[in-house]
Amino acid sequence: MPSAIELHAINKRFGEVHANKDVNLTVERGTIHGIVGENGAGKSTLMSILYGFYEADSGEIRVNGKSVSIRSPNDAIFAGIGMVHQHFMLVEPLTVVENVMLGAEGGTMLRGGEAKVRAELARLAHDYGLEIDPDAIVGELSVGLQQRVEILKALYRGADILILDEPTAVLTPAEADALFKLLRALRAQGKTVVLITHKLREIMAVTDRVSVMRRGEMVATVETKDTSPPELAELMVGRHVLLHVEKSEREPGAPLLEVDNLSVIDNRGVLRVANVSLTVRAGEIVGIAGVAGNGQSELLETLAGMRQPVLGTIKFEGREIGFAEHNPHGMRKLGLLHVPEDRLRMGLVSAFPAFESAALGFTDDPRLGPGPLLDHDRMIADLSSKMEAYDVRPRAPRLKSSKFSGGNQQKIVLAREIERNPKVLLVGQPTRGVDIGAIEFIHRRLIALRDAGVGILLVSVELDEIMNLSDRILTMCGGQITGERKASETDEQDLGLLMAGVTEQAA
């Protein structure tokens, strides 16, 4: 039986970057095949070539043994390849049926297509356990179900080979488990799944074989049962990496940030943070675990002074923060600094050169220039030394912020905040879209900061990260704190339940 996908000597260059160097990949039919690699290792490029977003400069693609030319997603779909993107390509106000039908309406009038979609959805639900209400509005579905719609779209178009790009980034542990169950069901029906992820745990849990990419090259393909997370990490980075950064036990100091009964309403009038109370003491990392969108963002933004609470008090070093002080400037002045969750939307101005982004929030600093002016030479010198200390690559302060990789952008933001000697540091998703090598660096920095007596409030959707770094863990669901655990006295299942909103009393 021919392999589902065979890639031979795929090459792709973007200007100076050799994104794919002579990449070979064989994916056997009816298997779940993982592809891992750091950001920029070339996995997305490879999959984009397979799905027709890019054309390879050279190389051959064979699907089911036949050489094919894939110049557009339509060609890919025709060849039986479907893709589920990390960011869903759904039309939120439309129903499930309408979304599945989109682009495959089959005629001017919708009625025929719709009936066909309904029949097909029923069949898929039966075959794979892909239950879904065909008339639900997609925007009202949970993220896990929206992903299911994406998968249904691909299957409806006759995909035999399904590519999933970081599918669990937005899912709860329980939803991720459900997805894996579904992937196994697809495999049992003879479908082939290609899973791109950076979570080694998932690779171990669900794949049959795994291919590792590094700097544009395919460095290894191994049977999953014959490998281990440390071995994969080493293959990815090219050197030994610590997946768990060691940290010593430490007795926390005085309370620095005390939040009492805080409630926040967002711009649309929805209650996003409900009666949250928490304390961050000197020299401890308090982790907030939760599925994205459960009020963590609004909590961070409120503490940073970007939003006003409707209720509750915030104390800093024992003193209540008044209205006049509760703004980003005021909080910064107190020593409460903020590494925002979304560096591209908030932490940087992507169109600015890096040295300008590295001054975001601190342009008042008289050291940056005389009077009303900003001295670019000084700003560049300032960033240059930080780039050295944080190993930002390339060391190019004048380069546009958007041209740096995710990890290096994050290092620029971290350097900006950490080097201002915070007393309390709010950190949102510090390693989202960051390479494994850089993750280790960032984790070390945060722990060093904690050991130096800084109080850190860490929000992350990566449970591993929360469990690795935190001294205490709070779980958030629906805007409420649903539980508190010492990091040493909990595990994933326990936190998963709390994150899903099963409160302590109920559990």
């Binding site: 200007g15 100076e16 977003f53 940073a304 002074g305 970007m306 703004n327 980003p328 400037h329 910064r332 903020h338 925002p340 939307r345 908030m346 932490g347 940087l348 101005v349 992507s350 169109a351 600015f352 300008e356 001054a359 975001l360 929030g361 342009t363 008042d364 220039g369 009303p372 002016l373 900003l374 670019h376």
Partner: protein
Amino acid sequence: MSAPIDLPKWVDTALVPAVSVVAAFLVAGLVVVGIGENPLTATRLLIQGSLGTGEGLGFTLFYTTNFIFTGLAVAVAYHAGLFNIGAEGQATLAGLGAALVLLNLGFLPGFLLIPLGILGAAAFGALWAAIPGYLQAKRGSHIVITTIMFNWLASVLIVYLLVNVLREPTNMNPETPAFPVQSQIPFMHDVFAAFGIEIAPSQLNLTFVLALAAAYGIWLLIYRSRLGYAIRTIGFNPLAAVYAGISPARVTVIAMILSGALAGGLAVNELMGYQHRLLLEFTSGYGFVGIAVALMGRAHPLGIILASLLFGILYQGGAELAFEQPAITRDMVVVIGGIIILFAGALEGLFRRVVARMLTPALKQVRA
């Protein structure tokens, strides 16, 4: 899905606009051919009329001055993410501000009166822009809509004032009395004459120097100052601005105030430098063309100066052309200007892609 095209800076700032302008002239040439005239002759007349004589050059630079001010006005707002369509109305009000100062403080000597007149123009222009700015910042009223409405308000207001309030009873024209003599900004030919250099007389006056200084000042402000940093942050990424503690509302209003004040430069050049009275419709569309100037100049002061010069040439040379070749009417010249705006502003992305496609192999080779 098309990936964003990354081109070297010189391609973006020089080559693409140049290609656009050349393409515009080629199409305009076809139009000239279409009405049975020789496009080469037309081009020669256009260049000759705008740059070939001292007088022509003077008029060209006079128009250039107007475009620099309105172009800068649009650009400053643009950096803050605001589309100020109201330079026309702001300049109208600025004319009123200048007139009120000059007509009421005529007892002051020129070295005081001229700066005060300029300030009056800037202040009224700023005020007329600040109101839409405030409405945008605090009430979310879209600035494009409000500035357009304010253009109409300005033109109606000025008609009322000139007809009913500011006009001398004996004058049948809707215009103010002449400004005091000492308030007139010196003509360039008079300035040069004072140094014993004779140049052809024209409307060109010292406001041109003010425009160049304003362009430098705006460059410094936008790219080198804390305020400019805040303005650009708002324009590029309002959320990052909030994160940084920059108040979008405050910076929006400030950017509009600056924008309106710059639009006031048009009134300074036209009224204090040339007409020496306030009259109707002195803005004659410069405020609108300023949008094209700013877009073509990439909202960068240097680009705006170059784009202003191009439009100055077009205005002056076009007038000469219409005069010399009656088949090419003034309207035809407006058509040609329109084609340039279309190509340089609206269709710029088109040429960018074409240029990128043609250059990519070459750029690859350079890198390899």
